[in-house]
Symmetry: C2
Subunit: 812 residues, 2 copies
């Protein structure tokens, strides 16, 4: 018995060793399934009626508007048919990621063939009426997208924006030791940066605890208008490239279906045998060396089996096959005849029975139940999701004797919480932390008490916190981090992405697409809720003391808040315990994209755990102890409306507002000042604009109906205006925030340069409260002097102000 055979017998991936190449009957069945799927794909693109060609094709059978992508589709159908064979023969638990997702007809066709489509959408029955419906709905108003999408059974990967397939595949494979993730990568997609970075994800995949990814690089040679790079370089160069990224490639090439079937079947068997060997060696023989995972290169013509020529120009095998090979069968009789010939070339009479369902020849050898690619529960991860075992926050919280008496690094304390989650999931392995080389830089290093960073290449004595089985994933590619996490979450697990705030923009487009996925999935009853995608944005704009201007950007929040409100949530916890309360909430939540902005630098503790929980649950609230409402005898105390409201959101703005309130209380004791802190920024919105939006009544209870509001915000000030423009007292609202000023400088100088400092806020109050301008002119002058004096000190000495650095709550 060879190792391979042993592995096949014992490794989780399969128990059925293929003894040799499949027999002729199997190939005939394979080909029948491929022809059926191709027929159904062409039908989706073209046909409005007459789905089975029971009558001659007429113009009125053709859709009035032809939309979709044929070019990549037959290749996807081919891979699907061969995966089906392997799944059955080896009883594989397999998931497919279709990188060339524009080929939406392919998984739809296959899912309809194996019955999973009808189970998901009962009105699309597996008969002639259902086939007609399948055809009509494709890329039709009110129907289904032309790409692989959330609506597609069996998919975790939207096929619209390209580049993320391989990262998604690796994310899905992590901590799924029995799962095979077959990932078709288009040669167009392979030119994208995220895909190019993802080739190296194999250096992070643990053959013991993770499943396998089988990349299938589909070289059909063309994008929409150009040849592709990887298809045009000489094959020896391609081979070097694929070996260079750590794979052991297997090649399949041809334009003769029979030849391609044989080669692909052999390559797939070889690849699966090798994976089984790798698993066996790693799991039973203690082999720790990084395996050279197999990879299949599939070189077939674009639009394989479609029209070779149209109007005298070559189509099959060229970029002209990308979308609609026959442009006008409704208006052009020659096109119509060609289309009918094309459809009949698949011999539908052999593929579909009298009722229009697949014949036994097509059905034979298809997987059943959850083994079907369209029904694998990993692709509907909410089915597998378990609640995360979260610790009691009391174990992690910091003690706060009085507001501002002590300080902590919020993310460092959060690291303790995450360490507990890591420890509690050590066996379950369903929680991961991803980030670009910054987990420790972002002060989350306590998590290494419970796990380490996954690393499958050499580990040297000098290395720290690296291991084969770690569940922290660090690579200097935000794209790969995001892709990993998306794949991990969509297959039913939990995680968090920590990033420098500014560089979250690198994955802005991916975040947009994930929100779109969740927005659409939430509207599909069969998609079960998955864990939220949680961003921890730290090393934020106000504390880029040494990195300067290039590292300052608080705009990710603005971008996220443009997206579907049912999905997006933004939190700005002002201190350590509020960060814990927010983290606890977001880690329990489902189907959201949560953005948490929190600092890693020492930050005064304002709220004890109980207060933090209550404050975060409310999302926004009056801090009575910080304004005059909390001080006996303070101006305006006694429940009346304040003279001015100081609003704040974010740790640094909160600190400056509290300092300003303190200055006001001491220097203008007769002024009634209210401090309102906002953690959940969407609370500022109207209830009809966001589920967390506050009613006008609640808003007025915090911000008053007519008093001046000075709002210090962490990011771009106009965000606060756009969230509140409809409120009655909006004309009274004056927002301070980041203005793209300041570079390499001190934290205090940053707030001065952006007009967010305590002195400026006091001046704002004096300028905006009626009657104060004259009465407090001298104080205003002193504040302006303090700004100037402190600014000069900072520039000369290169450190923060002693009196600012040492600033204590109530003791300025």
């Amino acid at each position: 018995m060879t190792t391979g055979e042993a592995a096949r017998r014992e490794a989780p991936a399969g128990g059925h060793a293929p003894v040799a190449l499949p027999d002729e009957e199997t190939f005939a069945a394979l080909d029948a399934r491929w022809r059926a799927a191709n027929y159904l794909s062409v039908g989706q693109i073209y046909l409005l009626a007459n789905p089975l060609l029971r009558e001659p094709l007429r113009p009125e059978h053709i859709k009035p508007r032809l939309l979709g992508h044929w070019g990549t589709t037959p290749g996807l159908n081919l891979v699907h048919a061969h995966l089906d064979r392997a799944i059955v023969e080896r009883d594989l638990d397999a998931l497919a990621v279709w990188g060339p997702g524009h080929g939406g007809p392919a998984p739809l066709a296959n899912s309809w063939l194996d019955g999973s489509y009808t189970e998901t959408y009962p009105d699309v029955t597996r008969d002639a009426a259902g086939m007609a419906r399948l055809f009509k709905q494709f890329s039709f108003p009110g129907g289904v997208p032309s790409h692989v999408a959330p609506e597609t059974p069996g998919s975790i990967h939207e096929g619209g924006e390209l580049g993320y397939s391989l990262a998604h595949a690796y994310g899905a494979a992590c901590d799924n030791p029995n799962l095979l993730v077959a990932c078709v990568i288009g040669d167009g997609e392979a030119e994208t940066g995220p895909l190019a970075a993802s080739w190296h994800a194999n250096k992070f995949l643990d053959p013991v605890h993770d499943g396998a990814v089988l990349p299938i690089l589909h070289l059909n040679g063309y994008k929409i208008a150009n040849p592709t790079v990887l298809a045009r370089i000489p094959e020896p160069e391609l081979d070097q490239f694929l070996r260079g990224v750590g794979h052991d490639p297997l090649y399949v090439a041809g334009d003769e279906p029979a030849v391609v079937h044989r080669e692909l079947a052999a390559a797939l068997d070889t690849a699966l045998d090798r994976i089984a060997d790798v698993w066996w060696a790693a799991r039973h023989q203690g082999v720790r060396a990084r395996p050279r995972w197999p990879l299949i290169v599939l070189r077939t013509p674009k639009g394989f089996t479609g029209p070779a020529e149209v109007d005298g120009l070559p189509v099959e095998g060229t970029w002209r096959a990308h979308q609609i090979p026959l442009a006008d069968p409704r208006g052009n009789p020659a096109h119509l005849a060609e289309l009918e010939k094309w459809l009949r070339s698949y011999r539908p009479e052999e593929l579909f029975d009298e009722e229009g369902g697949p014949t036994a020849a097509v059905l034979s050898g298809l997987p059943t139940g959850e083994r079907r690619l369209g029904a694998n529960p990993h692709a509907n991860g909410g089915l597998l999701l378990r609640a995360l075992p979260l610790p009691a926050l009391e174990e992690c919280a910091v003690e706060v004797a009085s507001p501002g008496a002590g300080s902590h690094e919020p993310t460092k304390v959060l690291g303790g919480l995450l360490a507990r989650v890591m420890a509690a999931t050590a066996e379950r392995r369903d929680f991961r932390l991803v980030g670009p080389d910054e987990t420790a830089s972002n002060r989350l290093q306590d998590v290494y008490r419970a796990t380490e960073k996954t690393w499958q290449t050499a580990i040297l004595p000098v290395d720290e916190h690296l291991s084969h089985e770690g569940r922290v994933m660090e690579v200097l590619s935000e794209h790969l981090c995001q892709g990993w996490l998306e794949g991990y979450l969509l297959t039913g697990r939990h995680g968090m992405f920590s990033s420098y705030e500014a560089f979250a923009h690198i994955v802005g487009s991916m975040a947009n697409q994930h929100v779109k996925w969740l927005r659409t999935a939430r509207r599909l009853p069969w998609r079960r809720p998955v864990a939220s995608l949680n961003y921890l944005l730290t090393s934020h704009v106000w504390r880029q003391d040494h990195n300067g201007f290039s590292h300052q950007d608080p705009g990710f929040v603005d971008q996220v808040l443009n997206k579907a409100p049912e999905v997006v949530r933004v939190y700005l916890p002002p201190d350590t315990n509020t960060l814990l309360a927010v983290a606890d909430h977001v880690l329990r939540s489902r189907d959201y994209v949560n953005v948490v902005v929190a600092g890693k630098q020492p930050c005064y503790d304002w709220l004890d755990l109980e207060a933090a929980r209550a404050h975060c649950a409310a999302g926004a609230g009056i801090w009575e102890w910080a304004g005059t409402e909390g001080s006996a005898g303070g101006g305006g105390a006694g429940g009346g409306e304040p003279d001015v409201v100081l609003g704040c959101a974010g740790d640094v703005p909160t600190q400056e507002v509290l300092a300003a309130a303190d200055l006001l209380r001491r220097h203008l004791p007769e002024l009634a000042v209210r401090v309102v802190n906002v953690v959940d920024i969407a609370r500022l919105m109207a209830p009809e604009d966001h589920p967390h939006g506050m009613s006008d009544r609640d808003y007025h209870a915090l911000f008053t109906r007519d008093r001046p509001v000075i709002f210090a915000y962490h990011g771009y000030p106009w965000l606060i205006h756009r969230l509140t423009f409809h409120r009655d007292n909006h004309p009274q609202l004056h927002v301070r925030g980041y203005l793209e000023e300041g570079s390499t400088t001190t934290p205090f100088d940053m707030v001065v340069r952006n007009d967010l400092d305590r002195y400026r806020l006091v001046m704002d109050v004096i300028d905006r409260v009626p009657g104060l301008a004259v009465r407090a002119a001298r104080l205003r002058q002193r504040m302006a002097e303090a700004r100037f004096r402190h600014g000069r000190w900072v520039t000369e000495h290169g450190t923060d102000l002693p009196e600012v650095a040492d600033w204590r709550w109530g003791a300025l």
Copy 2:
């Protein structure tokens, strides 16, 4: 004479053939320059005073706060010294791109050594006083960033956000046939997606018309906290990878300076010889095969020549050398002693003379004048910039007999303009068009009348518009497109990036960083203005009929408008001639990021060229012919205030507003309706918030002070609120825009689903003009019925409404 020798003699890169390895004297000079640069680098990180160590180092000589990155710096200094030698020996025209840009001390040190720093910043003299200033300013408040930045002489590449060095290098090399661009790539940066995609840029570099890029992959082994992937994979695997991406690698490795000097000098000579051979073969021997360009792998310890151990832990050669190897020399006497030892190990007494300037030993063999890397004019591209030869718009404009009488595809007509620019620059070669495989899909294909797409790998008979020397650059990587264009523009040329609107978000972070670069460069008097970065965002949100939800995203504009207002400009031309007028303007502009949003689908022509020019120059204006102001006897005609203003920005919203105005004129003839179209969206802002902002007086002249304004906007509606919240009539402003609704559907259904359609706009008018609700109740009901009826038609028939598709201005 070998080919190499011939090339060296005749090819542009250099006339001086190195006869053999440099002699000992040259190596001594190389080492002295390296030591001097290292000394100056450590000094920048640590020293506030005592720059020449003329007295023993004391705590007060140390900066109070230590910021910067030592780890990568000695490697950059090493490369710089060796490039200097090659530049002098071969009289090279060379530009350096420092990918590991956190090592800012390195180019600063070298620029100070060769005098280019003092020429740029005369107060930083090349003597002891200047050295003290150089040291103090580094990463100090009011000083210079710790990264390579716009402030750094000789740089076109910000070193903060990583991943773009190689793309920038290729962009700089394009159409600079005599330029060598040496690009140091950090092994951390190499993990990013954009860098990974950029490896394949060599398939687009024409050895005849373009210069050369010499990648120097610097494997120092570690990022901030982890080993790097490329440094840890076995060398044979790395070699396969580098050959697989098309390079012929040369290896330099060691931790002995003398050995490294010899190996690097030899590798650099070999690489430059090979480049000269490639150029010779391509330019004089007609060789058309894609060359295998050389590449240098430089494997040296992280923090080379720094402390080997600190506090008993290894530092040199580990991630601990990443930032500040000795953490506390001000407070810890052992650290102070170690720092002094470290500094003195460079033997400063040999490197700097009595006055503190470099000694002859250091200066010998340094390049002079514009050959210095800190003074090469390509790195200050505005010095080389020539105005683009733009055609008279009359050559391209469409005739407009009356508004709405005809229609054109705006971007298709723009393609004619771009073709003329391409033709006019055929010899100068200073204009390029980049895009991800979409130039033709975005209807710009007329540009192929004048040039083709660059492609250096095999070209087959079936291919169209590919050539070795084309100036359209297509690759399915937005990152590479953007990086190419940035590098091209910053070296003094012109260009445009056309993209599907939604996928501009992929390069959102790069756009942010480019705005930051321009904002900072504009504040540096020595940086000459460069051509603007022009985005053409087309295939926009309203016309994703077959791609659906994943391809809808108008948020790039919002992101850009968060950035420095002195740099960002956003235009939404409503038809063909306005697009031409805008394109003409942005192609003439300097130092901006211009975002132009325009459709590719047939769009009614509203303005003739003269009117389009005037309208675009104004940025916003009343279209009297569209409202009742233009119709004799129309309601409110005669110059009074209208009853309602219909605002619009964007092609589809403009069409719907004009249709709504038409409905109102016919059904409510007594109503005075004004139509205001906005092309330059920043006109809505206040003058203090954006240079294009309108005064309140001008704003009121368009939008009135108190009448209801119904504004139909192309993107997210709240953008309009955030731009106008301070205007007097803001409470009267009602904005319609994209609400993340609609997927695969018809264009008309898209506007219905997002409440932007003509019927909804009429209903909005009825709802908001006082007194109309009752008077026009029946019309409102008819409008609601029309929405419903048309919606049903669309869903059933899968095409656009006949009466909408056929809609003509004034003939509904």
